[in-house]
Every structure is written in structure tokens, then in C-alpha cells.
Amino acid sequence: MTHAPAEVAIEYEIADAQERKRFASPKLRGFMLLAPAVVVAILFSIIPLAYLFQVSLTQDSSFFFTAEYTADNYREVFTRYRSAIVETVYLASVSSVLDLVFGYPFAYILIRKIRYREFVRTMMTFPLFGPLYLAFGLFYILLPNGPLGPLFEMLGINIARYLFSTGAVLFSMAVFTFPFMVMNIGAALSNVDPMLEEAARTLGAKPWQTFTRVLFPLSWSGIVAGFLMCFGWNLGVFAQPQLLGSPKEQAVLSIQMFTKGLVQFNYGLAAALGILLMAMAFAVTWASLRFSRGALGA
């Protein structure tokens, strides 16, 4: 965690000798500084999630009257909602694969060839303002008389065909998470010495051999971290299927949860869906943190 050498800590404590009389020990003072953050996390993150788990074990909304504990909700999630789980995982994995296929060349060019990197970074913040505006803007583009209508007409593409389709949802999901992929792969590639590629080429490797034998293994950690990060974000997708998808895409877990909980007031089932989605997201995050070299400093 901290890289402060031990001897510094000792000198530090001597300097603090006077103040130590007032506050018991550095350890206690440290916990006091940490307390507000811990209290907020416990009150508004850990308790609600624990509560959600408890609710997920009760029938319908019986928790708030006389709680009937049962595992029926989970049984229903894994039978009736299996297609929803499959759809969520399918959309998240395909969009993450798209990110990887298109993001790798982007990251490579960005790191090796481009001097106006700051500009590219600035432009890349547009998707990060949120999937809502992204889906919203794409909707306008896909409308039959959208702003790019003449261009698509010239190219002979019937763009309105893609409104409310899997393609539009996947595209908007991929665009939203594209910066995460580029960021992770870029971080890995910037640690790869360009000399290695040159050496491979001098020794007679073809471009694709340089890629499969040198670049790909060396940037593996970035690829895995980026893929898992995109996958994790896309598991919780909501706005893109809602605005751009057909009922098939709108079966994703987040939207189901909203419908069950806030429209039909079946809290038990909504909570069970939520717990499942959370478990999937945490598993992905745990894996990605193991691969990304301490991006969060932990």
C-alpha cells in the first residue's frame, strides 16, 4: 500500500511527540480521519446492499408486512429469467469484443504515432458523459430524416433499418466503453519498448508475427484488464437498449429490475435480480483488478 519507508515513520512520530499527548496514537488519529468516509460507505452502500439481499429472500413485497422467507425468487431468476441473463451477458461480451478488435489498433496508433494525444483524449471524453446522451444522439442519426440522411442515401444504406435493432444497441454500448479499452491497452503498450518491435522486424519477423509473438504477449495484461472493465460496465447497461433496442434487448437485467421493482412492486424478485447482477459485476471487477497493475493503488 504505502511506500513510506519505516525509518521515516519513526522520525515522524518523534516530531509529533507533543501532539501525541492530545490524541492517543497515530493509529487512532488515522482512524478518526478515515471515519467519515467509512460511515458514509457503511450507511449508504453496505447496509442497503445487505438489506437488498435480505429482501431478495422474501416473497413479492411481503418483506414489508409479514416477511415470508423463501428461495423462490432465485429459482424464478434462474428459470424464467434465464433468457434475460443470457441476453445481458451476450450484449456485454459482444460489445467488449468489438471494443477489443477496434480499440487495439486505436491504442497502438495513439501510443506510437500520434503527437496530438491530448486532443484525442479530450475528444474521447464525449462518450463518457454518459450512455444516455450517446443513445439519444444515435437515435437522431438513425431517424429516417436524420442529419446524416443524405450521406447514407448517397451510400445506398437504409439507416432507419438499424433503429430498434441489436446492431444499434451493440454499437452504442461499444462506443460508450471504447475509452476504457483504449486506456487500458494504451497503458500496457506504453510500457513496451519500440526497440523490441524493431528488433523483431530486423530479425525477419513479418508484421503479423511481430504482433502475435511480441506485442500481443507483452500487452496481455492490458487486454484482459480492458476487456473485463468494458464487460463489467456493459453488464449494467440500461439506456442503450431502452432507447435503441427492440423488446429482445430490453430484457437485460437492469431494465427487468426497474420494471419488477418500481413498476410492478415485486421487490423480492427485483432484489434477487439485483443481487445476481451485483455478483456478476463484482466477480468481473475482482478479476480485472488482479490483472490491471494496481490502477487503483491497492
Binding site: A4, F64, T125, Y133, F258, A271
Partner: protein, 279 residues
């Protein structure tokens, strides 16, 4: 494809080397520019839609709604964002300081517990909070509830850049100040805090960008009197269809966010944003 083309030409086609290399570079740059266009395209389309009436006349009239009937939503967005940033600062800076500078047991466990909300999908957070607010805390549909949700969702984003900045900061400045007789508080306010400036402002930027545009958690927990501007955009697209006035609001939100990002990059660069949500 572009990667392959980008590599240097082999010796046998030296005569055609110049044009091949030029072609490879052009393809590489073209690829990046194509993606930049895709990033900006939804915004440009929204902007174009907001400026045009259904009859094809270009006008700014849709923007009268932004400061008319949407004014309250915008005000609420700005208000909640500012309050969230202030609370985030008050709880994250001490916590980051404790994590980096104090000998605490189980630090990585504490940090993971604090980051828990960052990894929870927004819809799950929304549904857990709506239940907890209604039946446990009894603060449904209030601004307090909204701000509490925003704080817990974003304070880790403030925490991480400050931790990074604090680790980059050598202890010598602090030690020098203390040796020269400054108290602990003086050292913090006059020496460390100014030096932590870029890290703290990175946290402020991240919080701003996310909270100002957050609609999903808000959708679950907000009531009719606590509809933020981003949620209003969502609600309007669900109920009123696609109106130029909605597009005008969405354009305004994105424009404000983009200007803030631009200003940040201009003053601080992107160094302290590495390893966080943005870049």
C-alpha cells in the same frame, strides 16, 4: 489492419518506400480521426436536431425552454453537483491522508470496502437505495437522499486521485515545514493542500462529470420534485418523444460538461486522471 500497414516498408520495395510509408501513416491517422468523428457524432446530431424545427427552419427557439421550464431541473443539477463535490472533498481528503500517511492495519481491505459502491452497477445501487430509503432511512424522494447516493457513488473517485497525488508528494516538504515550527494544521493548509491541488481538482472533475450527467440511480430514487436535468432528458424521451427542446437540454448539458473538461485539461493536463474513470 491499420497496424500492419503502419509498420516500416521492407527492404525489397525501397523504391516504393516513401509512398508506402505515407499511405500507412495516412491510414493510421485516418482510423483515429474516424473514431473521433464517431465520438463527436451523437453530440453533433443532437445539436443539429435542437437547432431545426420539423419544417426544416434553423432557429434557436428550442433553447428558450432550457432556461424556461427546464430551469428548475438545471438548478437542481447544479445544486446537487456542487453540494456533492463539497461533501466528497470533506470526507475524501482526510481519508486519503489517513490511508497514505498513517500506519493503519488492514488498509487494502478498508480501501476495497470504500470502493465497493464504485463497482456496483448503477441500477443495483438504485434499487437497493430505493428500498433502504423508503423502509429504513425514511428519506424517499428527497434531495438529501439524492445527495447521499451521489456521495457514496463518487467519493472513491475523489479518493483515488488524491491518494495518487499524496504518494507522489515527497515527505520532505512536510518535514521541512514541521522542522521550521509549523503546526500540523499549518503544514496541511499552507504546504500540502496547495501541492495536492491538481490531484484534488482531478477528483472534482470526475465527480462533476459523473454527477452532472447521472440519470440511472436518480431514476430509481428521485421524485417529481427532485428531477435533475439529466433525468428530465430521459423522462422526456420516454414520454414526449423526441423534441427539439429535449435535444436543446441534452446539448446544453454536454456542452457544459465539455467546457469544464477543456478548462481542466488546459490548466492541469491529464496526468492525475490516469488510472481513474477518465483516461
Amino acid at each position: 489492419m491499420a497496424v500492419a500497414a503502419a509498420s516500416a516498408p521492407r527492404i525489397e520495395n525501397r523504391s516504393g518506400g516513401f509512398s508506402l510509408r505515407w499511405l500507412g501513416n495516412a491510414l493510421a491517422h485516418g482510423y483515429v480521426w474516424a473514431w473521433l468523428a464517431i465520438f463527436a457524432l451523437p453530440f453533433m446530431a443532437t445539436l443539429a436536431y435542437s437547432l431545426r424545427t420539423p419544417d426544416g427552419i434553423w432557429t434557436l427557439s428550442a433553447y428558450q425552454y432550457v432556461f424556461g421550464s427546464f430551469k428548475e431541473n438545471l438548478l437542481l443539477s447544479v445544486q446537487t453537483t456542487v453540494i456533492t463535490i463539497v461533501i466528497n472533498l470533506l470526507i475524501s481528503v482526510p481519508a486519503a491522508y489517513a490511508i497514505v500517511r498513517y500506519p493503519l492495519p488492514g488498509k487494502s481491505f478498508i480501501l476495497s470496502a470504500l470502493n465497493l459502491s464504485l463497482y456496483t452497477p448503477a441500477a443495483v445501487m438504485g434499487v437497493s437505495l430505493v428500498i433502504a430509503y423508503a423502509f429504513l432511512f425514511r428519506i424517499p424522494q428527497t434531495m438529501t437522499g439524492l445527495i447521499a447516493a451521489y456521495v457514496v457513488g463518487t467519493f472513491p473517485l475523489m479518493l483515488v486521485p488524491v491518494i495518487v497525488a499524496l504518494r507522489d508528494l515527497p515527505m520532505v516538504f512536510e518535514e521541512a515545514a514541521r522542522t521550521l515550527g509549523a503546526t500540523r494544521m499549518q503544514t496541511f493548509w499552507r504546504v500540502e493542500l496547495p501541492l495536492l491541488g491538481p490531484g484534488i481538482s482531478a477528483g472534482i472533475l470526475l465527480t462533476f462529470v459523473i454527477i452532472f450527467n447521472e440519470f440511472l440511480v436518480t431514476l430509481f430514487i428521485a421524485g417529481p420534485s427532485t428531477t435533475t436535468a439529466a433525468l428530465r432528458v430521459y423522462n422526456l424521451t420516454r414520454t414526449a418523444g423526441f423534441q427539439p427542446s429535449t435535444a436543446a437540454l441534452a446539448t446544453t448539458m454536454q456542452l457544459v460538461s465539455f467546457v469544464v473538461v477543456l478548462l481542466f485539461f488546459r490548466f492541469f493536463g491529464s496526468r492525475y486522471l490516469k488510472g481513474t474513470y477518465l483516461i
